[in-house]
């Protein structure tokens, strides 16, 4: 059990009762390789935490650690003030954290309806609501899913599958939605559609932790932007880096325009 997080060391961010989701000095290691240096975030209602970085920066690992899909090397993860560092992924969903995985989380042999049902089942019983009503709300956001309802989800286009993955995540009634590169490999039009919906949800008060490689069209009122590179924090501000800054962060001296 030595690989579980040491709980005695709590540095950096102070524990605040208002935080829906908190990471305190979360570090991740695969074998002997450090994937992420200690990173802390605190997510409050209606906020956006944007994590940018090139491939291999540790973004996905961090998100997985929040969702419970990866064990942290050290540090703590708290959901609503409760320490969930050693609680497995499937139990964290009911506590209010749902992950929209990288690569859109296609589940072959399951229909669109099956996917929505699984998402709805993942919600805590008292928050779940009536399935038909909840799905109607989803169709308002993503009308295309209604047309695809009985189709096997492996026949969906990339954009449609991304919408389904987000819908699945939303039906689980999260207080914080974790999104792993929702724009990856999508047509520009699909990116616009997906981000329109995400902006709307964020404006309505849904907290998000969003991982992307490049700047995204998601205006948020309250946000923190973190830029990671090789597992280290390179930038941390309440405003986003300018394209020139980002290029420099990614590429170093060579990125200077």
């Amino acid at each position: 059990m030595t690989r579980f997080a040491a709980t005695e060391k709590v540095g950096g961010v102070r524990s605040s009762p208002a935080a829906l989701l908190e990471a305190q000095d979360v570090a991740i290691q695969y074998g002997g390789i450090r994937a992420l240096e200690p990173l802390s975030i605190s997510v409050a209602e209606g906020t956006l935490t944007l994590i940018l970085g090139p491939n291999g920066a540790g973004k996905t690992s961090f998100l997985k650690a929040l969702a419970g899909a990866v064990l942290v090397r050290s540090g703590r993860v708290l959901i609503g003030g409760r320490d969930v560092t050693v609680i497995p992924a499937h139990q964290r969903v009911k506590l209010g954290v749902s992950l929209v995985p990288e690569g859109r989380g296609r589940l072959p042999s399951l229909s669109v309806d099956d996917n929505l049902q699984i998402g709805w089942h993942a919600a805590a019983r008292d928050r779940r609501g009536d399935y038909n009503q909840e799905v109607e709300k989803i169709f308002e956001l993503f009308p295309v899913l209604r047309e695809r309802l009985v189709q096997d989800c492996s026949t969906l286009s990339g954009g449609e599958m991304q919408m389904l993955a987000i819908a699945r995540g939303l039906l689980a009634k999260p207080s914080v939605l974790l999104l792993d590169e929702p724009s990856l490999g999508l047509a520009p039009l699909a990116v616009t559609r997906v981000y329109e919906v995400l902006s709307r949800l964020n404006a309505e008060g849904l907290a998000m932790v969003l991982v992307e490689q490049k700047a995204v069209p998601l205006p948020a009122r309250r946000e923190t932007t973190i830029v990671l590179q090789n597992g280290k924090v390179r930038y941390r501000e309440v405003s986003r880096p300018t394209p020139a800054q980002l290029a420099e962060l990614y590429l170093g001296e060579a990125g200077k325009l």
Binding site: A67, G68, A69, P88, A89, H90, Q91, V93, K94, S98, L99, P101, G105, R106, L107, P108, S109, L110, S111, D114, Q117, I118, G119, H121, A122, A123, V150, R168, A172
Partner: protein, 329 residues
């Protein structure tokens, strides 16, 4: 829509199977009744494999182990301990469930080929143990297993046993259908391909895997017990690895994840070699030729849903196909 729904075609075939089962006692010979009984008992195991391998994607090849526990359990408890046969069947079922839980906890952490290898080792071990141990009377097996009876109804009468076997088979089929289309079946299908994503969707992967193993083991154990009760004999050859291969053939010929596939697949693998028996050493040739024909014409099995797996046309090189198409135009 999920693959495991009873479409019009499969409903029609199922009605045909029921009709044959109802008419066989009136028109069938003793051999027909015997064959149909064996088909029902094997189909039950194939249905369990359809849940385990087809729906939940757990490539576990240890179903013969649970058949053996059911079979030897009944024989040993009735012959050596003098217990009531029904009680012995229930106790054997309990042992099977216990074994499934104990071996499942470590084995189900293995994935893909490793799970297959682990469970094949278990199946081989079962055969070797049954063949070598004095507890199971080695290669001679145990004969004279007592007849089942309820009140005045004796299952020594082949017709009564025939009814019993088909009741077991149809109950298993109903259980399969209901489970596959419930939220449990959905969770199984989700974890069959992407266990990591299933976990982030609130699915307790390990628990659901264990659940499917236990249910499949129960079906196999019951089928094993009733087979031995029917044959009044148990021996290691009933649980040879070739039996496991036959079970998988039955599943794939019938069509993975289909509803009626396991019954038709069992009938195919049991009946075709018998029909070709008159041809002596051509028997196997005919069987495997037909098997190849099924795989070529319908790679997803007789009732399986056609997926990206292509049949005979995939064997024609693309350049030739293109040329043939332009010619015919």
């Amino acid at each position: 829509m999920s693959e495991t729904t009873l479409g019009r075609f499969q409903a029609f075939v199922l009605a045909g199977i029921v009709l044959i089962c109802l008419l066989a006692p009136a028109f069938g010979t003793r051999l027909v009744i015997y064959n149909l009984t064996i088909i029902a008992l094997y189909a039950t195991v194939v249905i369990s494999l359809n849940l385990l391998l087809g729906i939940a994607g757990q490539a576990s090849f240890a179903q013969t182990t649970f058949m053996a526990i059911g079979g030897y359990g009944l024989a040993i408890m009735t012959k050596q301990l003098g217990l009531n046969p029904w009680l012995s069947i229930v106790l054997s079922l309990g042992i099977s469930i216990l074994v499934a839980v104990v071996i499942g906890m470590p084995l189900l952490r293995l994935r893909g080929h490793y799970l297959s290898m682990g469970t094949i080792a278990l199946a081989l071990g079962t055969y070797s143990f049954a063949n070598a141990s004095s507890f199971t009377n080695g290669g001679w097996g145990i004969s004279g297993v007592p007849t089942l009876s309820v009140g005045t109804v004796s299952f020594r009468n082949p017709l009564n046993f025939y009814i019993l076997a088909w009741v077991i088979c149809f109950v298993s089929l109903a259980a399969f259908y209901l489970l596959a289309n419930s939220h449990i079946g959905r969770a199984w299908r989700a974890l069959s391909t992407r266990a990591d994503i299933a976990a982030t969707l609130c699915i307790d992967v390990q628990r659901y895997k264990l659940m499917v193993l236990v249910i499949a083991a129960s079906m196999a154990s019951l089928s094993g017990s009733f087979y031995v009760a029917y044959a009044h004999f148990v021996g290691p050859d009933l649980y040879d690895i070739s039996i496991m291969i036959n079970l998988i053939l039955m599943l794939y010929v019938g069509g993975v994840r289909s509803v009626v596939g396991p019954i038709i697949g069992a009938a195919f693998v049991i009946l075709v070699p018998q029909m070709a028996a008159g041809l002596e050493h051509y028997q196997n040739l005919i069987f495997y030729a037909l098997l190849l024909a099924v795989i070529l014409v319908k790679p997803s099995g007789l009732f399986g849903k056609a997926t990206e797996a292509r049949g005979i046309d995939s064997m024609i090189p693309l350049w030739l196909m293109a040329r043939l198409r332009t010619r015919s135009r």
